[in-house]
Symmetry: C2
């Protein structure tokens, strides 16, 4: 990883710089909408006195991103920044490669970004990782090194790899280069929805006062995506929200946001397996300290499954459980829905929902939904 | 239904006419590609002496079409043609509505097309139809009338509805207006791939001799889509292939094609439930009699499931089992693969695969894949 002191400042302009660097390597993923889901979201939940927000939903499909998740953005950006570090390319840094510990999408993202640049990648994974994830990571040409599954064990093995190889660490979220890379999703999303709203107005012949998104809601695990999107929206008037699973304290971001101090440890087995980590210090400096995020909301496992079912059946897209979390907030969280009803009024809000990834095996889906 | 004698002739030009009529009402669905699936398709299947065709795959996502299936095209076209029939609009035909018997995607497609035009729709469904399908059809504002599940029972109830209401029958596939409507998918597909290939060549800076698709493969149930796409490709040099499930004789189209006479009855419970019907007479007149189709291929239930799994896991799109049938042929049918190897040679073929629809419930998927 590039020394954080050489990173660009955490600003919207830096996200735009990151975008220029990674654009040749990543997909500009599509934005889709669904009138039936927007209508459903605008109905009050069953029960007395429930909020009736007027919502128009837009979905940014990072499940169609390279490696099937937004993580490709941060990983490619981290490598581009390393390439800009004086001496790294020429001094042999490139030959020594990059290393991370991850059993999830970041592992595959870093492997792909490294292979694309002809750089060795070392990925430390717990021996208990799912065989398809190990196979996928090896499929991108990475060297997989196994470790125990506690964070202490993983970090020890990673330290050993660094000692042996001289590889540079590229963490999954807690670094400015990663935050800025993930933030590019926010810039694209803004532009795409502006274009789609303008096209729609032209097609229907009905003029609209609406220019673009009123809010974006993203999942929050380590906070790389949430903080990056918050930076991308700085000064635009677009409100940014985070979303988490509540199961077994998985809502560490929300609890930290409300209490005022970051929660640094969390242990949950939520089905939203991309969101089991606590928020990192760098993302926190954006999310909480700079107050660029308007709020975080948490949903239950059942709500996540319901939202996932709707995404499959109405939108026909494959998303992983973590990706269904923001949609679940929009559909089921009374706090969020009451806020929209109050603030958006008659005109309603255009809300951007980030589908962060689509890496789920069909047999796991079977296990999740076979008994529904 | 419009009297077939008032339909346009079965030609490519008529498909283009149909397209003009339905364009305001349907989605121009996206075409996607996947280098990993194209690579996989270009590897020989395991075993000695297997074919090694060079394939580049393109997928036309009619699962993102209105009502989640290509059937919207034929239904909207049928209504547009009725509107052009002298006296139908003014003479009260519109008020008497339209009727069909279907428990599948055509039911929802006709319901939507009727509602859009403010026309009553009567849908005859077997009482044993899946409750979500009944609910979806009612959701589009149709009047659902129940019948027994044999074709005799369904037809009797339909005849009664026609007698009582004066509604016009819109069959699911066996009519020129339906065939021409479904064919529009072929015209769009050709144009979209030409554009994508040109864009890719420009982006990579590598000039290409390739201009567009070499072949299109579609599912074949009643044959509306296959015959329509065949018409759309007439005179273009693009070869058109059909694909079917082999389970319990579901490959009636293939058997008829090879024996020279249409098979008019089939009884299979293949998981590809959209393809359980025999090929209709009108589609047959295109597929076999005019020799616009180069061949039909059939795959097993396991091959369909494997292809479906790949579509979900690699492409992140939700498709119904019927939609996975052409992909299964491309990946697993040695006859098709040997043909491509032989005819396409070193340069390979750009093959267009039509994903016909995405209407599958998540719990059914669970049941299909829970035990994989």
């Amino acid at each position: 990883m590039a020394d954080p002191s050489t990173s660009l400042p955490l600003t919207r302009a830096s996200v735009a710089e990151a975008r220029k660097l990674i654009e040749p390597f990543i997909h500009r993923t599509p934005v889709i909408s669904s009138s039936s889901l927007s209508e459903l979201a605008s109905l009050p939940a069953s029960g007395e006195g429930k909020a009736k927000p007027k919502l128009r939903l837009w979905f940014k499909c990072e499940n169609f991103q390279k490696v099937g998740a937004f993580k490709a953005r941060g990983a490619f950006h981290a490598i581009e920044r390393l390439k800009k570090e004086p001496g790294w390319l020429e001094g042999g840094g490139r030959e020594r490669g990059v290393v991370t510990h991850s059993s999830g999408n970041h592992a595959q993202a870093l492997s792909l970004a490294a292979r694309t640049n002809n750089i060795p990648a070392y990925i430390v994974m717990p021996t208990i990782s799912a065989p398809p994830k190990i196979a996928a990571t090896k499929g991108y040409g990475a060297n997989v090194i196994f470790s125990g599954s506690t964070s202490t064990e993983r970090e020890a093995v990673t330290a050993k790899v660094i000692e042996d190889t001289g590889a540079r660490l590229v963490p999954p979220y807690d670094h400015p280069d990663i935050v800025l890379g993930q933030g590019t999703v926010g810039l694209e999303f803004q532009e795409q929805v502006e274009l789609l709203i303008a096209e729609e107005a032209e097609k229907s012949g009905k003029p609209t006062t609406k220019k673009g998104l009123d809010a974006i809601i993203t999942p929050c695990g380590g906070g790389g995506m949430l903080s990056g999107v918050a930076l991308a929206c700085e000064g635009t008037g677009i409100r940014v929200f985070g979303s988490e699973p509540s199961f077994q304290g998985g809502d560490d971001g929300k609890r930290g946001f409300e209490s005022g101090s970051r929660i640094t440890s969390v242990k949950t087995l939520t089905i939203a397996d991309g969101l089991r980590t606590p928020v990192g210090a760098v993302p926190w400096s954006v999310i909480y300290e700079r107050r660029l995020v308007s709020g975080l909301y948490a949903v239950t496992e059942e709500q996540i499954k319901s939202a996932m079912k709707l995404a499959y059946e109405r939108l026909k897209v494959v998303i992983e459980p973590s990706s269904a979390v923001p949609l679940a907030v929009v559909l089921y969280d009374e706090g969020f829905r009451a806020l929209v009803e109050r603030e958006a009024g008659e005109e309603g809000w255009d809300v951007g929902v980030v589908f962060s990834g689509g890496n789920v095996e069909l047999d796991k889906l079977g296990a999740l939904f076979g008994g529904v």
